[in-house]
Structure formats: C-alpha cells, structure tokens
C-alpha cells in the first residue's frame, strides 16, 4: 500500500482549525525543541472531554483518518476509540498520526497541560510538552526506541540552557 508523504503541518493546521485541544509529544515535539532526531509519525495527546472528542472526530473525518494496522480495510476510528486512554495508530491523507489517550505511566492531557509550552509554527500557536517532561516520560516507557533518544534530548536541553 502506498502511504502519503507526511505533512505534519497540514495535520496540525486541520486540528487547529477545528479547535481541537491537544499536546504535541514524541519525536515531532523533540524536533520543535531543537533535537536532531527523525520521526515518521506525529504523536499527540488529546483532551478526552466530550466537546473536544466531537471536534476531534470532525477533524479526523476531514483528514481521512483510518487505522494503519488494518491494511486495506480502512477501518475508521470511532468516538469510543478516541475516548479511551489507549493509543490510536492512524494513517491520514497527510501521513501517520498517533492519538494517545495517555502516555508514560498514565499521564493524560490534563496532567500534561501544566508541563507544556506554547510553540509558534507559522500562524499556529501549539501546545508542546516541555523538554524536561518529555525526557521524564520517555524514561517511564520501556521502548528501546524511546530509551535511545534520551541522551539526545538531555544534551539538547543542556545546549538550550546554555543559550538562555
């Protein structure tokens, strides 16, 4: 199956236009902070409030989101799916999008909101997890991929601190 070339800005713009409350985490968050890493998907923790889930569903329809693990089935996410604390691994018209109900040891949108900074990307003002918290959450996970990125994130944080 041929996948689209990722355009993270297009996904973020669509969510922003629909006024979806979300926090950028994962590799794209690391890149926005200045870490020289590469990732192929956009990881977001979304608010699971009823109103936000409705807005998120509308934007997912516009993005043509479907589960990327289901091959040609094109199974689309339901409201009950995105209201769960689990991870929804989706493909959209603009590339892979992972919607994460919780990350690490059960941190949800409300927990993480107090550890966010606002990052301006073009016209968008986006919530991204602060670098220190991103490192802490990566430490909580058991993924080897996440562990491998931690030294780079720590050094990025150090270099940023020197500049400020």
């Amino acid at each position: 199956m041929k996948h689209p070339i990722p355009d993270f800005l297009e996904i973020l713009s669509t969510l922003y236009e629909h006024k979806v409350d979300f926090i950028i985490v994962g590799g794209v968050c690391a890149v926005l902070h200045g870490a020289p890493v590469t990732t192929f998907d956009l990881d977001l923790v979304h608010s699971r409030s009823p109103d936000n889930l409705e807005r998120l569903m509308s934007s997912l329809k516009k993005l043509g989101a479907y589960y990327r693990s289901r091959g040609e089935q094109r199974l689309t996410p339901r409201l009950s799916d995105i209201s769960s604390p689990g991870h929804q691994l989706l493909m959209t018209a603009y590339g892979p999008l992972d919607l994460l109900g919780t990350i690490g040891i059960g941190h949800d949108y409300e927990d993480l909101l107090k550890h966010c900074i606002t990052i301006e990307v073009g016209e968008l003002r986006l919530n991204a997890l602060d670098l220190q918290t991103l490192i802490e959450v990566k430490k909580e996970t058991i993924s080897e991929k996440d562990k491998a990125i931690i030294p780079i994130l720590k050094r990025t944080l150090e270099e940023k601190s020197k500049q400020s």
Binding site: I5, V31, L32, A35, I119, R155, E159
Partner: protein, 64 residues
C-alpha cells in the same frame, strides 16, 4: 600480539576530539547547535525534508 580491534582505538580518537563537537555519551552537539539556530517552523520543515529524502533513497517516491 595485540588483539584489540582497531576500530576501538579509532572510535576513541573520534570521540575524544579536542573540541566539543561530541558529548561524553557520543551525541553530536554540532547538530543540536545547528537545530537551535532554526525557528520551530524551520525545524519542522527540516524534519519533513529528511523524511522525504529517506523515502526517496528507499525508492518510495518518484519525484526528484
């Protein structure tokens, strides 16, 4: 005869450059410093260009 692999020495020399290009744990600090000169928008564009380049190398895209 010294059976230590040559790469061990060269690796050590590579990582112990006099300047501070690498951290003690081998992270390339020059890339971090370069990324920090960019705006968040430029960093995101760089990421997307990297993905595009990798996919071209894999033969997954046909455009030049």
């Amino acid at each position: 005869m010294d059976n230590k692999p040559i790469y061990k020495n060269s690796e050590k020399a590579f990582l112990s450059t006099d300047d501070d290009s690498y951290s003690e744990d081998g992270v390339d600090l020059t890339l971090i410093r370069w990324m920090l000169t960019l705006t968040p928008t430029e960093r995101l564009q760089t990421l997307q260009q990297n993905i595009h380049s990798i996919r071209k190398l894999r033969g997954e895209t046909s455009d030049s």
